[in-house]
Amino acid sequence: MPHSRTPAVAGWFTGENDDFRLLGTRCPSCTAVFFPREDTHCRNPHCEGASLEEVPLSRTGRIWSYTDSRYRPPSPYVSDRELPWEPYALIAVELQAERIVVLGQAAPGVTVADLTVGMEVEVVPGVLHEDAETTWTTWHWRPTEVRA
């Protein structure tokens, strides 16, 4: 039976495959772009902006830094405790157009040995975990060079 695909967090990303994008919000007054989204008031202290509008973020960026999780993170992270822990990489990516750094998990199979600071990566759809009814979706970062 097919699972339903549900974002692990509402309103942070949209689209499938090549159209997948992180979603932020942009202040119409000062142009600052926020991720995670700010919907009511701009956080720029010099700005009185309100009514921020949803915008897709840049699809690619450059690695600001990276690390990995060699040990199972605690709850509320969900993992199958029946299975041995599989480490995954985490990448902080600087988006040039928005001038923000966004942290995310690396796509499956990408290890720290594949990464360098400054390398170009792209945002791709990913799966955080699955349970009986639902595939919980998220965003992943993947080096553009590994793209098939």
Partner: protein, 396 residues
């Protein structure tokens, strides 16, 4: 008019993994601080507790918990929570009460009983809490962030894992001399390199543990100190509790992204550097005046970052400063003479108070085998989750 307050007493419960309630650690530390000060509990006009969240959400309201354990005597009570900066905020609250004339003698207490393994957020589904979200969506533990900072330093400044290991070697050597430290063994660079990777590039011995512990201070007005017979007490001269300025461009705990640096040009000064600068300005002192410093070495690499943020050296020169021995005993500015978090492990609400306990011992010339000769000025520095800066300047 002086804005100093006196440190009449300092007390600690040894750090460890004792499996006892945090109230016991805090009460032991408080009684030790009162005995050290020669002040009766009944003469304390105000008690300030640094809260713990480990005992249940939203946490024990620590000020009253300690007052009850010591025996209700009607003192004014304050409880503060600012994550790792809770202890410094407790000191700030106590100092403000003294300077405002609301209390002559204030007892500051922080204690924690830490869980095994990674810190985690309190239970329940809280998708509007960034601290919950980073665990839920990314599995991003505290060492994740320490690993990101360490890798960034390697890429930008050319630091090496060997540099990081030398921080542990230095701090473990001091911790071995401190009866209140949890880890009292010297550590070699080879042992650091042989420990398991936790968050690349950092290994187990690069990252501070989570500990049980308690620390307390008895603070008073200078007038009270004089009447009490303490003519030349250690004094707190400045407490910095600043927040970042928009846009904050470092990925700080527990955030998933930085502020945007598009609409407003970011300051050339980092948040951590601003914490120290504000403390220096308030004290009328500078990094060149420091005899000792206690910094928050949540990881070995973060200690090097603090050297730069405190102005002990220029940006990117932390590893060089360490290798020159400037931050070891006998160097220009010994850092973490207590052994640091490397030797203590973090007992969150107690840790920033413990930093000031160590500075107090150093400035009294009472630090035993760890004593830095002629110490006159010290600073403590740390940064609490969600943007809580903290630094305390003490003088004698």
């Amino acid at each position: 008019m002086t804005r100093d307050v006196a440190v009449l007493g300092a007390g600690m419960h040894p750090w460890g993994k004792w499996g006892r309630p945090f109230v016991e650690y805090g009460t032991t530390a408080a009684r030790a601080a009162l005995a050290d000060a020669g002040v009766a509990w009944g003469d304390v006009g105000s008690v300030v507790g640094a809260d713990t969240v480990r005992g249940g959400y939203p946490g024990y309201v620590a000020g009253a918990t300690f007052a009850r354990a010591l025996g209700w005597q009607g003192a004014r009570v304050t409880s503060v929570y600012a994550a790792c900066a809770s202890g410094a905020q407790a000191i700030a609250a106590a100092r403000a009460q003294i300077l405002a004339g609301l209390a002559d003698v204030v007892l500051v207490v922080g204690a924690d009983a830490a869980p095994k393994g990674f810190f985690r957020p309190a239970g329940g589904d809280r998708p509007d809490d960034p601290d919950w979200l980073r665990f839920r969506l990314l599995g991003a533990t505290n060492p994740t962030y320490f690993g990101l900072y360490a890798r960034r330093r390697m890429a930008v400044h050319g630091d090496t894992p060997e540099d990081f290991a030398l921080v542990k070697v230095k701090n473990a050597a001091m911790g071995a001399l401190n009866p209140f430290a949890r880890y009292r063994k010297r550590v070699t660079a080879e042992e650091v390199a042989a420990s398991a990777v936790v968050a690349d590039p950092l290994r187990l011995l690069d990252i501070c543990a989570t500990s049980d512990g308690g620390a307390a201070l008895v603070l008073s007005s200078l007038d009270f100190a004089r009447r009490h017979g303490a003519a030349h007490p250690v004094r707190i001269r400045a407490v910095s509790t600043v927040t970042p300025r928009f846009p904050s461009t470092v990925l700080d705990l527990p955030d998933i992204a930085t502020d945007p640096a598009l609409a407003v040009r970011p300051s050339d000064e980092s948040f951590r550097a601003s914490i120290a600068r504000v403390a220096y300005e308030e004290a009328g002192l500078g990094p060149e005046d420091l005899s000792v410093a206690e910094v928050y070495d949540l990881s070995t690499a973060l200690e090097l970052q603090w050297y730069e943020d405190l102005g002990l050296c220029g940006e990117g020169e932390g590893a060089k400063l360490l290798r020159e021995g400037a931050t070891a005993p006998g160097g220009r500015t010994p850092v973490n003479t207590s052994g640091g978090l490397a030797s203590f492990g973090e007992a969150v609400p107690a840790q920033a108070i413990a930093q000031v306990c160590e500075l107090t011992l150093q400035l009294r010339g009472a630090a035993g085998d760890r004593q830095i000769a002629g110490a006159r000025v010290g600073i403590s520095a740390n940064q609490g989750l969600f943007g809580h800066g903290s630094a305390v300047v003490v003088v004698r």
